[in-house]
Symmetry: C2
Subunit: 385 residues, 2 copies
């Protein structure tokens, strides 16, 4: 059975869905692995490392996909007219495809039409058994690290307090907004670097997590915020009233910050605006804002997704796309392991093939299509009454 | 008495020789301070902060220098034909000028001809009393910090070991070459960030300093290296034989590194080549080399001073000019304090003017010219026998 890994072609995508490490493991399962030439280059993996791990090198996407039963992707395959190749049309009917596949009704119906069984890994349920397959979590972790490194790089002072013969340079005030996986890693990294770190999150459980990492907690609290968490652990959408009060507390705090890192995502929606234009204007020249939520529209009113902006009052806003893709070797290593774990979990050793039981909670969570039909509960056409 | 601060005009220069903090102190000494408009912008200091501190804003260099008795600079003033302004000709005869002034015979004679008393702060003797005026030390400290931040930013993995649900990403192997002020700060910063840090230096005393910061020591040692330090604490030039043996030890080590930061400067000479092209070729794709010595020609054979290079085997070499200038607010803050301390040390309270006794060791060390003549011992014309 053949497993294919393509070069990612979407803009700003630098990651790759398999590494030499996972190729070895796939081979051990009995799969033959085809890698499109150059697939790992932007993640620092030369073709030779894949072949040394047992993969066959395919000159292009068509050759890699020829006869493939499993296809690993980072992002959704390009469809006709979307770019240099119509990847979708090259994927064999009946293949299982795994990746961050954009689980919209349109995409799902395109996968169904192409006869691909599409597993959208971003829909993985947040249960203990699925943790090691969780691409959102592994990638958010690296985005949080990366945000701090890029903030430090864009900043015109240092993070730690520097005591020198010429006197002391104070530590940078760093404020992390949103203490999910990305936010917690950002707190940890900013603390490592010696910043004076504070953080906020609307989920009540986050306060203790923030404090346990040595940062101070900043935020408005009321009855509503005490229930502001979904069962899956993601932040819930709250009322306009709550956001206004939280914004008031935050506004006073932000004016004193050197670095602000925003990480607030609400699953499946546009990111909430946490930092208004007025708040940005209250900051000192040289301050830096990193908006990890830029791909979802951004948490900062002045963010231009995909761009770096410097405001009139000298505040730099980093709104880069694809934060995990900015640390591509590490991001690919973890992403590839997430997919490997999924396949190993659903691997039928005797048939030497993946086996996805319809009743399994993880399968139900991620599988958009099967046998040419959209089957995901959130996307399937309504049943006749 | 008037003190003037100019906007720096040399390429890649982002720093400024005075900050609002030092302006206040100069004013308290009885000086009136003129700042050229825009002088602090690239260091994150708007004009309004200078005026709030008591400075007068001058529209251009000529206006700032009009009647000035003290002139503070970061880099040597531009002479005729060197750039957009002939700053040198605008400095009043008899003025005291302090900065990193390029103490060559040509420059010194230009200063003498212009009737400027020029204090080249980079020549400050390395004595305890002068520590708080030491611009080389304060700027090297920040260069060392900045080198690590930029290395982390150019690297496609993380510095710390990251333990995630998807498994572990190992810590980066970071190797610091040269454990002077810059190297020691680079060690400390790379350790903060969670890297696995090793370091080397040819000065015997450095070994203990490296270890005391928690890094491991790598290097060749023999009788020659045990005496490889000038009285001032700088590295001495050693024999070709020693460098060959050191290079052997280093070559084996470098092949295993993710990050190499080179900081070896020999006072007044071209920087020694510590990393050969062959060593660079032995490194893995994605590795990063930061050459802090780039302005002195570089410690790495493949460094292109002022540029970022990626080699055929995927190693990125950061050869930026002016490393302290890449963290301009902090660098300006310390540099400005260095100059302030110098002026306060040599301030005649009654005359409300600087007084530089010829016999003082610091004055002897830095003063290139006085009353229209080159007086520095290393530059003055030989006396008739």
């Amino acid at each position: 059975m053949r497993l294919a890994v393509l070069k990612e072609r979407r803009p700003a995508e630098t990651r790759v869905a398999a590494t030499p490490e996972t190729v070895k493991k796939f081979t051990a399962l009995g799969l033959s692995v085809a890698i499109e030439a150059g697939a790992g280059l932007s993640a620092g993996i030369p073709d030779a490392e894949y072949t040394a791990a047992g993969a066959e090198l395919a000159p292009d996407a068509a050759a890699a996909l020829q006869g493939a039963a499993v296809v690993l992707k980072v992002r959704a395959p390009l469809a006709a007219g979307e770019g240099e190749a119509d990847e979708l049309s090259l994927i064999p009917r009946g293949a299982l495809m795994l990746g961050q596949l954009q689980a919209t009704p349109e995409m799902a119906s395109a996968y169904a039409k192409a006869g691909i069984d599409a597993g959208a890994m971003e829909l993985l349920p947040r249960i203990t058994r699925a943790q090691s397959m969780d691409i959102l979590s592994s990638q958010a972790n690296l985005a949080g690290y990366r945000a701090v490194i890029e903030a430090a790089s864009a900043f015109d002072r240092g993070f730690p307090m520097l005591m020198t013969a010429a006197g002391t340079i104070p530590a940078a005030n760093v404020f992390i907004m949103g203490a999910g996986v990305a936010g917690l890693q950002a707190i940890a990294t900013a603390r490592r670097l010696g910043g004076r770190v504070s953080a906020t999150d609307v989920r009540p459980a986050a306060k203790e997590e923030i404090k346990s990492l040595g940062a101070s907690f900043v935020g408005y609290e009321d009855e509503e915020s005490k229930a502001a968490q979904t069962a899956g652990g993601y932040a819930k959408q709250l009322s306009a009233n709550f956001y206004a009060k939280q914004a008031e507390v935050v506004a006073t705090h932000i004016a004193k910050q050197d670095i602000v890192i925003t990480t607030a995502l609400v699953q499946g929606r546009k990111a909430p605006t946490l930092v208004t234009a007025e708040m940005v204007r209250s900051m000192k020249p040289g301050s830096v804002i990193v908006d990890i939520a830029s791909d979802a529209g951004g948490n900062v009113a002045l963010t231009k997704p995909g761009e770096v902006v410097t405001t009139d009052n000298g505040v730099t806003i980093l709104g880069h796309s694809n934060w995990p893709g900015r640390i591509p070797a590490a991001a690919s290593a973890l992403y590839a392991r997430n997919l490997l774990t999924f396949l190993i979990t659903f691997w039928d050793k005797e048939a030497k093939a993946p086996k996805l039981p319809e009743s399994d909670e993880i399968v139900k969570g991620v599988l958009l299509t099967r046998g040419g039909a959209v089957i995901h509960p959130s996307l399937a056409p309504a049943q006749a009454a």
